[in-house]
Symmetry: C2
Subunit: 408 residues, 2 copies
């Protein structure tokens, strides 16, 4: 008999069916006992006339009658079950998976990720992440971008000397890439439009709810732009596609978590840094929240002062203390950073103050002709955290890494 | 005027058009001069009545008349051009991009990747790689797999103590993941079916044409299998989907490189290790070539001796010196490794010889119920090398990393 999923029981009412999964919960009422099977599609209720002699998280197959039952998950339940155990646990689960929400605190949940992630609410956030990734790629594939894969072990701590991990590479000192920035720019010279979804590494010394030492960066870069506004138009398409993909591919997670998906306007509102009223070179978290309250849940802030942007940033032609850069704020938090980059070799030599030797392989692209270009990076875990309403980015990271956490 | 691509000129014959790109080649015949524009779609010929005063790799826009010309690339050329220079190079390209194939040797080409990758043949391999990735994901999305993202900084050199990179993680010793193996198994407990496309790191001390210190691993893992044969069926679907995707999404690269795409049979031929005639615990490269000569360009070898497989490998029930594992050989080279894994906690304790402390976060999954499962990993750069007929895996890696190469 072909296995069916828990979500398919109601379509088989009246038939004998076979399911497989974990024993998520059980309750013995004497004359009748209930079990909940959990599989990748959800939950199914099993009703038996004798006590279930199985421990929680036992992996089993079950053959049973599919019977209509309005009060059961999915409107049907399994009766007259015959169990076949595939694998028995050796201990009681460290978290109570049967609860609608886990009641354990976050560090405990993270320490016990192998089991805690099995909770339907915990795993739902990662269904949203997977759907977001698909939406990101779909938008860019449709716009003629090419996916690339660039090295994470690099020779120079290029973007900034701070916050970089060092490793021994066959006797040489090497670093973990803080972003694919320099490589994706080089690849604009090859494919014009490129993207990469990969891990980036930041030796963040601070413990905050929005920084990690390792995260998933969704990067894109495109050539032949007029300025950063062309890049922002691509960001808008990408965000709209990610929202659509989450709606279509992760409906169960959206419903379970009560996710309110944003309406992405045809043009996302935009505020120049000079008009934010901020008397500093960067926004504070409180400024980001305030701007979203005033302008909407998605807001571009453009023109950040050059003083706070990296060396490859293109200045604003008329007001060179400002830059052709932007952040996208979503529900009070920056989730995308991007902008136009310098594209002339002389501009790089000037921006680097002549310290060009560590950048030779990168500057080769500019020595040999590069178009005006720009790009952006989106932190996947932050995006998902905003979307599902998670307070801490660690809730939307499978196995987070920070100053004090290197396992599991 | 909207920009069109080089591939679209023939569709605009008779009209004034605008293109943008790099000056790929030029030739001055006195009364007439020719230039070749290169953009992300290919090449277009420009005919001018005066010498082109532009250096090779100049980035420019051009407005011109699109004219039918059977001898030109794409059957049309650009006449009466008016140029607008966007960016001027400061040096002559280090490689001769105008040649049908680069004539420089591989180390030189790799040293000058930023420019050498612009050559149509060089970049074509990476169009094949991008299409392969899309095909990998499409097959697994269709089979109910969930994409995951697991850490590359890990606490223990888990799979094998050898060939691992060490780094300083906020004062602790950490390692770069040699594969997502342990994490993807844990995630079978959450989603049943998972995949990840990401970087893996091997401190390979050998210089060979088929090993790198960093490469792209396409990993999948699935639960509720009977044995490794169920995993091999998924591999077959994935390979077929990758071939289809390359055919449909990278036709220009396939034509340019003369790629012969394999026919993927409904069932890929399979040979048990015991029947290969090899009197050792592993196959030598010559054995792999011989097996493909005898059985076809795609061949599974199953049942590798347990002695050569990692600790999580499931033995063959009837002959426990052999394993429920497999490699997929493609045109004489192993491109996929996979198999059924152990799934009972006691089996892991025995396999690890009781040394379980470094594996606590991983073993938690098995303590709390795991189904029979298995999976596989495919090396993207190797796959592409076999497909495009590259002798050296460095030809299908954008910026390769090995014992002596850390830049560009």
């Amino acid at each position: 008999m072909e296995r069916i999923l828990s979500s398919e029981v109601s379509a088989h009412v009246g038939a004998r069916v076979r399911l497989a999964g974990w024993l998520h919960a059980k309750r013995d009422l004497g004359s009748v006992s209930f079990g909940i099977l959990r599989d990748r599609a959800g939950l199914a209720q099993i009703v038996a006339s004798s006590p279930l002699e199985l421990q929680l998280e036992t992996v089993f197959e079950v053959e049973a009658d599919a019977v209509a039952a309005p009060q059961a998950p999915g409107g049907a339940e399994l009766r007259e079950p015959v169990f076949h155990v595939l694998s028995e646990p050796v201990a009681t689960p460290p978290v109570e998976l049967r609860r609608p929400k886990l009641k354990e605190n976050l560090p405990f949940v993270l320490d016990h990720a192998a089991v805690a992630l099995r909770h339907p609410r915990q795993r739902a956030a990662f269904e949203v992440a997977a759907a977001s990734l698909t939406g990101f790629r779909a938008a860019l594939d449709g716009l003629g971008f090419t996916e690339i894969s660039t090295p994470k072990i690099v020779a120079a701590a290029t973007e900034s000397g701070a916050n970089v991990f060092t490793l021994d590479f066959f006797g040489q000192t090497a670093y973990l890439a803080q972003s694919p920035q320099l490589y994706k720019q080089v690849m604009v010279g090859v494919f014009e439009r490129v993207y990469e979804t990969g891990h980036v590494f930041r030796a963040e010394p601070h413990d905050t709810t929005r920084h990690l030492a390792e995260y998933t960066s969704l990067d894109a870069e495109l050539g032949f732009v007029a300025d950063h506004l062309d890049v922002m138009r691509v960001v808008r398409e990408v965000i709209a596609s990610m929202v659509t993909s989450v709606r279509e591919r992760a409906p169960r997670a959206v419903a379970l978590l009560g996710v309110e998906l944003p309406e992405v306007p045809a043009e996302i509102p935009s505020v120049h840094f000079a008009d934010t009223g901020v008397d500093d070179v960067d926004l504070a978290p409180a400024d980001e929240r305030r701007l979203c309250e005033h302008h909407g849940e998605l807001v571009f802030v453009t023109g950040y002062p050059m003083a706070k942007r990296p060396f490859y940033t293109h200045p604003e032609p008329e007001r060179p203390q400002y830059s052709n850069s932007f952040d996208l704020l979503f529900r009070g938090l920056e989730i995308v950073t991007g902008g136009q980059r310098l594209h002339r070799y002389e501009d790089y030599v000037a921006a680097l103050g002549g310290e060009i030797e560590p950048f030779a392989g990168y500057l080769a692209a500019f020595r040999h002709g590069m178009p005006p270009h720009g790009g952006f990076a989106l932190g996947l875990e932050r995006w998902v955290a905003r979307l599902v309403g998670a307070e801490n980015i660690r809730e939307t990271t499978l196995f987070p890494r920070d100053r004090t956490r290197l396992a599991p």
